[in-house]
């Protein structure tokens, strides 16, 4: 391993977070809410340490930076997220929002991984700047994901296709622009434009400017933190809900699509297989849940009411955002379970959404269909085509393998979390599902209107790990736990 590069990358991350902390610091001073020391201290420390390490690890020559091994990348990426969570959580700790570092790290990890699971039970009691920072962590995490998976991963060079499971990221034009730096910039612009558009839309829908910004942060990142305990249900506004549905749905689409749409100025970009499937799942999910709600009469005779809730909550779950307007925990079992299932699917690859990703679901399903076909026609040749691309056999097996790893991780983590007697089985299962798929709220004791407070500290550590695993698509983070990683 190359400690120099690892240190340098992480020093960069520290610098970035330290600088970002200046925003809530300024806000705190402007609102005069007295939280400013909680930001000033970590910010100054991070910037100082970050700058120092960054300078100290300045490459001695051009050659020194030329070679980065897989291990370095895997380790740096994982460490970057852990470091962000630990350091980004420090304001919560200093402010006294949480009494111990496990909780503050949980909250910040939930932020940077754009999960949206919270330990806060009374959100309104916090100062505006703290809540602002909490939402901002998600926005920053979202940037990290987009840049990492869409821009950096495909061009890491050697073997990068398999690294970070980017092999089937679903983006044909792995390099949207010839230079990574340009691609990253382009995607950032998309991210910023989407954010700006949402702020405007929310303002137009009647939200206050502070709330609008805070919710924009967490929508675009498909994170789901809100500054209200009742989440979006607080506003009781159809307009706001519509705006959020639209932007949640948009945020779970591969950002590369927007860029291509802009550069190619052709609607044919929208005929992307994954995008179509995503829209299909979204619509089907909404209609399915709507149907159940009507049949069960959860909202009386008001079909419109049922549609409104189903549309919002289903979109929120599929995009792994985790905003809520209605407590789906009170829905009928069928609807509830459908919600749990949708968590695993997640959004499109190349977006900030979590879950298995639509493209992988497509690949897996079509592989299985091909298998069934082959058991009747043993000699059938069944290439798997996505648009014009043929997915090689090895990629299919890799996706199936990732799925298996995903489920096994889910099972093991559930078993470990379930060791606490105070949690119901469904609570621990859904808690793991919600964190592993970076959704946020689960069911029952960790449901939409509850916090994760019911989980004990040991469980919180495990769930923090689950968020990390889910965000980095399991294998990246899992690699660090394998002995061969540490063996030369």
């Amino acid at each position: 391993m190359n400690p120099r590069i690892i240190a340098r990358i992480n020093a960069g991350v520290m610098l970035a977070i330290g600088t970002s902390l200046l925003v809530p610091l300024a806000l705190s001073l402007a609102y005069d809410d007295g939280s400013w020391p909680s930001f000033l201290l970590p910010s100054a420390a991070m910037m100082a340490v970050g700058a120092f390490v960054f300078r100290a690890t300045k490459p001695t020559s051009r050659r020194a930076l030329e070679f980065v091994s897989n291990r370095d990348v895997l380790f740096s990426v994982t460490l970057a997220w852990v470091l962000s969570a630990v350091l980004g959580g420090s304001p919560f700790l200093l402010e006294g929002t949480f009494a111990n570092p496990i909780d503050s790290t949980f909250e910040a990890m939930s932020g940077f991984t754009t999960t949206g699971a919270t330990l806060l039970s009374n959100i309104e009691a916090q100062t505006p700047s703290i809540l602002f920072w909490r939402s901002m962590t998600q926005w920053l995490g979202g940037i990290g994901i987009v840049v990492l998976f869409v821009a950096v991963a495909p061009v890491l060079g050697f073997g990068a296709a398999r690294l970070l499971s980017a092999e089937v990221s679903g983006i044909d034009q792995t390099r949207l622009t010839p230079r990574i730096a340009d691609t990253a910039k382009a995607l950032l612009v998309v991210y910023l434009v989407l954010s700006a558009a949402e702020v405007v839309a929310l303002l137009a829908a009647g939200m206050g400017p502070y709330d609008a910004v805070v919710h924009t942060f967490t929508t675009i990142a498909t994170g789901g933190f809100s500054d209200r305990t009742a989440s979006i249900g607080y506003y009781h506004s159809v307009a706001i809900e519509v705006v959020l549905i639209v932007f949640m749905a948009l945020s779970a689409v591969s950002f590369a699509i927007y860029y291509l749409l802009y550069t190619q100025r052709s609607l044919r970009v929208l005929l992307d297989q994954e995008l179509l499937a995503y829209v299909g799942i979204l619509v089907a999910g909404v209609l399915f849940v709507w149907g159940i709600l009507i049949i069960e009469g959860s909202y009386g005779d008001s079909w419109g009411q049922a549609f409104r809730y189903s549309a919002f909550d289903v979109t929120s779950v599929i995009t792994t955002t985790g905003f809520v307007t209605a407590d789906y925990d009170k829905w009928d079992t069928g609807a509830k379970f459908a919600v749990l299932l949708l968590m695993f699917i997640g959004g499109c690859a190349g977006s900030t959404a979590g879950g298995m990703k639509v493209i992988r679901i497509i690949i897996v399903f079509r592989t299985i269909l091909a298998d069934l076909m082959r058991s009747i026609h043993p000699r059938a040749v069944t290439p798997l085509k996505l648009g014009d691309r043929v997915i090689p056999e090895s990629a299919r097996v890799a996706v199936l393998g990732l799925f298996a790893a995903w489920i096994l991780t889910f099972i093991v983590a559930s078993l470990v979390v379930a060791v606490q007697p105070q949690l119901s089985l469904i609570s621990s299962l859904s808690a793991v599902a919600a964190t592993l798929n970076v959704v946020g709220p689960g069911l029952d004791q960790v449901g939409a209107t509850e916090s994760f407070g019911a989980v004990d500290h040991f469980g919180r550590v495990i769930l923090t790990l689950c968020m990390l695993l889910g965000r980095l698509e399991i294998l990246t983070a899992l690699a660090l736990f394998s002995p061969s990683f540490w063996k030369d």
Binding site: N70, R71, L74, F158, G159, A161, R162, L163, I292, E296, D332, T333, G334, K336, F337, A338, L341, V364, T367, I368, L369, D371, L372, M373, S375, I376, H377, P378, E393, R396, V397, A398, L400, G401, L402, F403, A404, A405, I407, L408, I411, S414, L415, A418, V419, Q420, P421, S424, L425, I426, L443, L475, T476, L478, A479, F481, S482, S484, F485
Partner: protein
């Protein structure tokens, strides 16, 4: 597709079902419990009907397509379950749906039941219930171990991995020999089970019934308290050993019968299977002893051993109320249920060998993160498995999870509280018949809406036939050509 071939094969299956039913018929005459008519009519009816169907459709052209085999297997199980449900129905014991559920749970060796107090049911009907499982058990062994490898059925490499290469040989002479040997082994195990249980102090009726359901890892009992009703450790031990033997790949017995003992003792699946029992029992013993002050170490061990073997093999006999155990033990037991016994046995679940390969695959994938260029063949001990097996095992696992979730969703639509649909589907898909909480008790199944019960029978069949067999029949391309 060849309707005549299918019809004549189904004729044999139905006739065989009727033939087996003669056993409880004779027994009912003997004990005179008033069920002779309800057993005799369906027995004779099915026997005659089956034979008529068989002879009327006997075709000169005996060409069999793969489609035919799939259809025969799936329809065969349904038909025999339909025939098997008649005595329950005619005796007025159950509604048609309950009767079909009971029969399907029997022939798939699931062991889910709607009979709340077996003690109140006529003994010959109980015998029939146990015989259903026993027949289903031998059916599955023959299907997977004898027939499967010959037609490349499912992931048949799994069953024949260590068996002498059967591919190139001709079907008929060999299949008959293999089937015969397997049947003898099955009978011998059953006989040994009966003797062991009788020697351990069970009455002869109970011994026969429990041996039939232990060897088939079905789990029907003649008592509402299951094995706990006997409260005797020799009986528990006898049942445990019988179940443990029944969870082993019958291909291994086949090898042992041919004197190839080295192949048996070196079998990696067998070793892991025994390892799971040992590790699971040890952890649970400690866990039970530590969590529950009421229990002595010996009691903890006794209960842990019995329960882990019972649930790993998917038999689901019980000696203790494991619902009240600690969460760690619950987790372990649920995992064991999902794993199931060895491939090529009467157990359900994913199967030990698939679990081994899955774990190996995950390890290799992680390894690939670090060495992307590495070539890592899938190995089972020293033997390199074909790459296609990797895809098929992974595919199986995905379908397993997807089926589980789909089933849960379907049952959940009936408005059952959320843990229960998951549990019920899990229980049926793994052919265990039981789960945490109320699932597994007869009251639960009896209380389900009729459509939910029928849905569950489909999942029992899916689990029993290892998913793909049934799913293939449901694909459009199956019917096209």
């Amino acid at each position: 597709m060849h309707p005549k071939v299918i019809a004549s094969a189904l004729g044999i299956v139905i006739a065989a079902g009727g033939g087996v039913m003669l056993i409880p018929t004779v027994y009912s005459l003997f004990v005179a419990d008033g069920t002779t008519a309800t057993l005799a009519f369906p027995a004779l009816g099915a026997g005659l009907g089956g034979l008529i169907l068989f002879f009327s459709t006997r075709a000169r052209d005996t060409h069999v397509a793969i489609q035919d085999v799939f259809l025969i297997v799936v329809l065969g199980w349904c038909a025999v379950a339909a025939v098997g449900s008649l005595p329950y129905l005619l005796s007025g014991l159950m509604s048609p749906v309950n009767a079909f559920f009971e029969a399907m749970a029997g022939f798939t060796t699931t062991g889910a039941s709607t009979i709340i107090t077996p003690e109140e049911v006529a003994p010959s009907l109980l015998l029939w219930r146990s015989l259903c499982q026993w027949t289903g058990g031998i059916g599955i062994v023959l299907l997977f171990v004898a027939i499967g490898p010959l037609i490349g059925f499912g992931a048949s490499q799994l069953y024949s991995a260590e068996v002498a290469n059967p591919v190139a040989e001709r079907l008929t002479p060999r299949i008959r020999d293999t089937a015969k040997t397997l049947a003898y082994i099955y009978l011998a195990l059953t006989a040994a089970g009966i003797i062991a249980l009788f020697a351990a102090g069970m009455g002869i009726f109970d011994a026969v019934n429990h041996a039939l359901t232990a060897v088939s890892t079905g789990g029907y009992s003649t008592r509402s308290g299951s094995i706990a009703a006997f409260d005797s450790w020799p009986i528990e031990l006898a049942v445990t050993v019988t179940m443990l033997f029944s969870g082993v790949n019958y291909a291994l017995y086949f090898q042992a019968a041919r004197g190839r003992l080295g192949m048996v003792s070196g079998n990696p699946e067998l070793r892991v299977y025994l390892g799971i029992v040992a590790v699971g029992t040890t952890i649970m013993t400690v866990s039970l002893y530590a969590f529950d002050y009421q229990k002595s170490l010996v009691t903890s061990f006794r209960e842990a051993l019995f329960q882990s073997v019972s649930l790993l093999t998917g038999t689901a006999f019980s000696t203790a109320d494991w619902n009240s155990w600690d969460p760690l033990s619950h987790g372990l037991l649920l995992t064991m249920m999902a794993i199931g016994g060895c491939a090529g046995s009467t157990c359900g679940g994913i199967k030990v060998v698939r679990a081994i390969l899955l774990a190996a695959n995950v390890r290799q994938q992680v390894f690939h993160m670090i060495h992307p260029q590495a070539i890592t063949p899938l190995r089972l001990r020293d033997k390199v498995m074909p790459e296609s097996l990797r895809a098929s095992v992974l595919g199986f696992f995905f379908v397993y999870v997807a089926t589980l979730l789909a089933g849960t969703l379907l049952v959940a639509l009936h408005g059952v509280p959320i843990g229960d649909p998951l549990g019920a589907t899990f229980a049926c898909l793994n052919i265990t018949g039981t789960f945490l909480g109320p699932v597994g008790e007869a009251q639960f199944y009896a209380g389900l809406p009729a459509t939910a019960k029928l849905t569950l029978t489909v999942f029992m069949l899916l689990g029993r036939l290892e998913l793909f067999t049934v799913l293939v029949v449901l694909t459009p391309s199956f019917w096209r050509s």
